[in-house]
Symmetry: C2
Subunit: 365 residues, 2 copies
């Protein structure tokens, strides 16, 4: 493929003609856009149909099932993603989001960071009908007990009705994309008792508890959970505000890295320790696989009219492939419709007129 | 010592006649009250003077420098510590707190949990003059980078003026008890930029930033820090609200235990791995020592008229000894007066009439 080439569609295998198309922004990956394209090729090999946005010159020849759109402009490193999205319509993430908004693709995958994905998604794909706020959800690779935490940073200020919707959104993700039949949803608090929590948590608890009493089909509400329950396996989904969720996520990453670094350091400290580390390496591999963040595809952007997936910029092709396959699964299972139906059944949709689907052109949520 | 014996004072060595007396509640320790008494003996051997409250029959013979007060009633496991403190004046923690309130001791150490210590301390020792709210501070044993986090759970709802005082209280702890000359104080947020944070964080940032511009002697304000900075070494003290702090503390404990457990599990999974684990064990010992929570004595109850220290119930005698020695250091260096002076100099004392020094009956100065 030569620079400037804009499209070179290879038809998907006949059996996948109805498969959702996934719009993928290649810019922003640490290993370069080519690594994302390589991930797309892997996903396409498993039947995915991909629309790839990025610098065509760096993306190589398209595989069957992959279409390349030359979109070399990147805003992945922009300090202010909202401003960058507004001012750069030719940016790859904006074009990818537009493809989803216009129905040329059914889900968005963005290697360029959550800020850009959130801004481009909100402006172009827009909030789903009846949703107050989009949220970022992270499936955490906890050994033996994977758990999805949301919101991890889309909203610094959160209200009760947002939190209640996050519970439904997180449950729909766990069910449709992660394969948990009836997710157990907990509310992150500073104690398990119903009386513990910030004002926001107390209000949210009261509403979810009342709804659970009346019957919630979409998930099982297990009440308050504590910080330690992020790794205890008590919950499949943990709901919190974007401030606490962001602090918790970064703390968890920091503690994990510090502990692994300390073990690694110890295993380099003497010949004896080096030998011990070498003998232990094989046994630790299973653990490393289990805590591999690439396995779940990245962060999920929920609450828009289509699903967004944001693999981490440091992922390899395997992680990008996984992100694309998860996005496809979410689109196939129609996570947006499932979320909407569950919220409608529970009477938890936003009712104000401004939430009508065509009410806003450039709303910021 | 026989049951019912009430006191058997052994005089402190002459050179320690002016040393502060530390009131210690022995009830609530996992290893039993005798383990706390053993810790007191170790501390007394290093010059501490201790007033020990607990079941005399289980505390053994008092060492020199240790006086035993028979107080067998324990409320350490009470579900509602506030109610238990009110209804049980004979409880060991209440009697220990009263000894501090009446000036028979100059600091409180409580093996029976933070809830009981907070309730008994607040009711008996009372808030220090000009302080809005007591706070719980935890020195976290991060390898190479110890950091003190507060509030970790004394207050689920926190206001700006509380947070500002927490910064001064945490800095005074780091200086007087932990030996950090000019602590770097950070504000926990969902991003480093001054524009990031909940409404509470934005308000607190603005006030601390303004104060820092005018000059703060007590500490260096380094602005917002993220969850990962709890382990990065950027700050000596990290200020947050009691809700976020509690979630962060429990999450950190959970992640650490999960990681250590996974490494241990891997090291038991085969003969080869067992041999590797055995060879690595010595090298990991230094790391284990560094992350030993007993080394810093436990949690600190700040904002009362005297210092409180709450060692974890699972501590051994070494940890209880450390708690007593840290409490003595805090009393000697007069952390309460240092906090007050710094807040007064900064004009950050509470001015409302209810904070006047004669508002309560059991004040100790």
């Amino acid at each position: 493929m030569t620079p400037g080439a804009s499209s070179s569609r290879s038809p998907a295998p006949p059996e996948d003609r109805d498969a959702p198309v996934i719009a993928v922004d290649c810019n922003g990956a640490d290993l370069g856009p080519g690594e994302v394209a390589a991930g797309a090729a892997i996903a396409a090999g498993r039947g995915a149909r991909v629309l790839l946005f990025g610098p065509a010159a760096e993306l190589g020849e398209p595989s069957p099932g992959v279409e390349i759109v030359d979109a070399p402009v990147s805003i992945a490193k922009a300090e202010d993603p909202v401003a960058a999205v507004r001012s750069t319509p030719q940016a790859s993430i904006v074009r990818a989001a537009q493809a989803v908004a216009e129905g040329r693709a059914q889900a968005l995958v963005c290697a360029g960071g959550t800020g850009a994905a959130l801004a481009a998604g909100t402006f172009n794909i827009k909030r789903a009908r009846g949703i107050y706020r989009p949220a970022l959800a992270i499936p955490l690779p906890v050994p033996h007990h994977p758990v999805t935490l949301l919101d991890v940073g889309a909203n610094a200020e959160t209200r009760r009705e947002h939190m209640v919707q996050f519970a439904f959104m997180g449950a729909a993700l766990a069910r449709t994309v992660l394969g948990v039949q009836r997710p157990r949803v907990g509310l992150l608090s500073n104690g398990e008792e119903a009386t513990r929590g910030s004002a926001l948590v107390l209000e949210t608890y009261a509403e979810l508890h009342e709804r659970a009493g009346a019957g919630i089909d979409a998930f099982e509400f297990i009440g308050n959970v504590e910080g330690g329950d992020v790794v205890s396996g008590r919950a499949d989904v943990i709901v919190t505000d974007g401030f606490t969720g962001n602090v918790a996520l970064k703390l968890m990453e920091g503690v994990s890295q510090t502990m692994l670094g300390a073990v690694r350091e110890a295993a380099m400290s003497s010949r004896r320790a080096k030998l011990g580390g070498a003998l232990l390496r094989g046994a630790l591999r299973g653990f490393r696989d289990e805590i591999d963040p690439e396995a779940s595809g990245g962060a999920y952007l929920l609450g828009l009219r289509r699903l967004g997936v944001v693999p981490h910029g440091r992922f390899t092709r395997a992680g990008f492939a996984q992100a694309i396959l998860r996005a496809e699964r979410g689109a196939r299972e129609d996570i947006v419709a499932q979320t909407h139906d569950a919220l409608e059944q529970a009477g938890a949709l936003r009712r104000s007129p401004v939430s009508a689907p065509d009410a806003s052109l450039r709303q910021t949520g």
